[in-house]
């Protein structure tokens, strides 16, 4: 459990805007060990989204270093980053981001296309992952035929298909009602129990409470980093 899946040192990102250079992230140090469940919080504009994009290898930092499973990602080229996104990271988005014209099975198996897996194997693994999230009976349906919560489950199945050590979730419950949110968070909890490292961005305190560690961003810097030994049991207070 000591091995760091993510280690960033002095990581910073600046954007060029009309008003000049805007520092979105001002040099962040953070280490996330294998098997951790981390919630990243902060108001909008705090730099948490920029940080997630960097963690997800969707963007490259202006300065600093980022070690993902021990390899420095900061200076990798586009193709190397794409391979990392394919094999090492599973993405879960707020808007589910399934491809609307593809069956759920094909959606789940899509990362395997870019991993060069043959058709039959893709199909088998796609079904297996759909079964893992309890949706194998919808394999041939289109995303529009199922509910938001189910779509998010499919998205999680897609994130899991290459068995990545790390799952990055960006506001995964942002579009879901509280009951469904609970279910999704429970699923994340299960995955974490299986040893998968999970980093999720949220601005909801009760969602963040499911994580074992909360990192709070403000103005491009980390302002607090709190660990719980055990996440509180999944029991939501009644919504007001």
């Amino acid at each position: 459990m000591n091995e760091a899946v993510i280690r960033v040192a002095g990581l910073g990102k600046s954007y060029v805007t009309a008003a000049g250079l805007f520092p979105a992230l001002k040099g962040v140090d953070l280490s996330i060990a294998r098997g951790e469940f981390v919630a990243i919080m902060g108001p909008s504009g705090s730099g948490k989204s920029t940080f997630m994009n960097l963690l997800g290898c969707l963007d490259t930092p202006t300065f600093g270093d980022y070690f993902l499973t021990g390899r420095n990602v900061a200076h990798m080229g586009n193709d190397e980053l794409a391979v990392l996104r394919n094999r090492t990271i599973g993405f879960v988005f707020q808007g589910f981001n399934l491809l609307p014209r593809m069956s759920l099975e094909d959606n789940v198996a899509l990362p395997l296309v870019y991993a060069g897996v043959a058709r039959e194997a893709r199909r088998a693994k796609g079904r297996e992952m759909l079964a893992r999230v309890g949706l194998e009976s919808y394999a041939m349906s289109l995303p529009a035929r199922i509910s938001g919560g189910q779509q998010q489950r499919v998205a999680i199945a897609r994130a899991l298909i290459n068995r990545p050590p790390l799952i990055l979730a960006d506001e995964p419950t942002g579009n879901l009602d509280s009951h469904t949110s609970e279910e999704i968070m429970a699923l994340f909890g299960e995955l974490n129990d299986e040893g998968i490292t999970i980093v999720l961005v949220t601005h909801e305190a009760d969602i963040a409470a499911h994580a074992k560690r909360q990192v709070r961003f403000f103005d491009g810097l980390i302002v607090s980093d709190v660990r719980h030994d055990r996440a509180p049991p999944a029991r939501m207070p009644a919504p007001c």
Partner: protein, 407 residues
């Protein structure tokens, strides 16, 4: 991976059928018109080449100069400056294959109750060799017939049809030309029209001596109106023309400052210019048709650009789950190429169908060569790649974060 991408491209095409069909239509019309125009152009070239080949290759016609009697000048070919002996002398020159003196004119032919006006060609047996004219039945006459002026004749297909009953064998029959009886010893192979559109089969060939003595009558014995000369090859033609000119000037004892008293017409040059004309026409047709192919290609580019914009978010998702830039590039290129190849196949069928229809309706000669089909196909695939590349590169160059945020 390529198979998966082909499947996806197929799927993407199927998702927006109307748009795909309209995009394809550009290629269909482009390829269809290229194939049709090339078929017509090559057909015309083929028809002209056929006509030229019936004329005989590498031919010169030497025509006697004009005469002037009491201030009245005749046209070329009516003088008496060329002689049979000139022909014999020309035959001795290098690179000359066949030489045949010719005296021809139109005469009325009579057989039984029928009569027919035709071109009577008085010449030597070498005439048939120079013109590459075969004998369909019977046999040709020989040098001895020319020497002894026998009354024998070879008749063309049109003459046979007009003088004889269907199924009647003309061989051995006697026809009369200007009261002189001729025995038909052979019939000529069919040649069709010449470049001027004259029916070459409407001809009767007789020995030169017989024609001059019995049919036309010549005031100066031994003179002839024209001489046909075949050069050994196309390359030898200029040198043969020079040596003929020099030889004839010497034989006719012309001074250095005197004009030639004969004309040399190069039939190969006329044939070449006819062939060149049709070739240019064929190219022109192809070029015009290519413009529509270009327009079709621009249509593909237009639609692909729209498609990239529409699917920006999809591209972002694909990138987030591990698509490399070249994967995105390949995907959009494949889509463009598939649309253009599918359009090409349909266009090919329509083009060939149109060509066959043209052939049925207008009797125009149509040549659909494997080459033109291959060219159309390659060009279509090329158009797909060329016009698909810019939109595909635009898609591949998208920033994944921006693309994911795109609504």
């Amino acid at each position: 991976m390529l198979a998966a991408m082909l499947g996806e491209a197929w799927h993407a095409m199927g998702c927006n059928r109307m748009r795909t069909a309209l995009t394809m239509l550009g290629m269909v019309i482009g390829v269809g018109s290229v194939v049709l125009m090339m078929a017509i152009g090559q057909g015309a070239q083929y028809a002209v080449a056929q006509t030229i080949s019936t004329m005989g290759s590498n031919l010169y016609v030497i025509i006697a100069g004009s005469t002037q009697t009491s201030g009245v000048r005749s046209g070329g070919g009516f003088g008496f400056t060329l002689r049979v002996a000139d022909a014999d002398a020309i035959a001795e020159l290098d690179d000359v294959t066949y030489v045949a003196p010719v005296h021809q004119g139109t005469q009325q032919l009579v057989y039984g109750a029928k009569n027919w006006s035709s071109v009577v060609v008085g010449t030597t047996p070498e005439y048939l060799d120079a013109r590459a004219w075969s004998v369909a039945s019977g046999h040709s006459f020989g040098e001895s017939d020319v020497r002894s002026a026998t009354r024998v004749a070879l008749i063309g297909k049109t003459v046979v049809e007009n003088l004889f009953e269907p199924g009647e064998d003309p061989l051995g029959k006697t026809i009369r030309v200007r009261q002189t009886p001729f025995v038909v010893v052979g019939t000529l192979g069919a040649k069709g029209q010449n470049l001027d559109g004259r029916d070459q089969d409407d001809t009767i060939i007789v020995p030169l001596s017989t024609a001059q003595r019995k049919v036309f009558g010549v005031p100066f014995a031994g003179s002839v109106r024209s001489i046909i000369v075949q050069a050994a090859s196309a390359e030898a033609m200029p040198s043969v023309e020079k040596s003929i000119t020099a030889l004839l000037r010497q034989r006719h004892r012309l001074r250095d400052d005197a004009d030639n008293d004969f004309y040399i017409r190069n039939l190969a040059a006329a044939a070449d210019s006819a062939a060149e004309t049709t070739r240019v026409m064929s190219l022109l047709l192809g070029a015009i048709a290519s413009v529509s192919l270009l327009v079709g290609g621009i249509g593909i580019m237009n639609i692909m650009l729209v498609s990239v914009t529409e699917r920006t978010r999809e591209i972002g998702i694909r990138m987030a789950i591990g698509a490399r830039q070249k994967d995105i590039l390949t995907q959009f290129l494949l889509e463009a190429v598939m649309i253009s190849i599918a359009g090409c196949l349909i266009g090919l069928m329509l083009g060939i169908g149109g060509a066959l229809l043209t052939n049925t309706i207008t009797d125009m000669v149509i040549v659909i060569s494997g080459g033109s089909v291959l060219v159309a196909f390659t060009v279509a695939a090329g158009v797909g790649v060329f016009f698909g590349f810019y939109p595909a590169r635009k898609a591949a160059a998208l920033d994944p974060i921006e693309a994911l945020r795109y609504q």
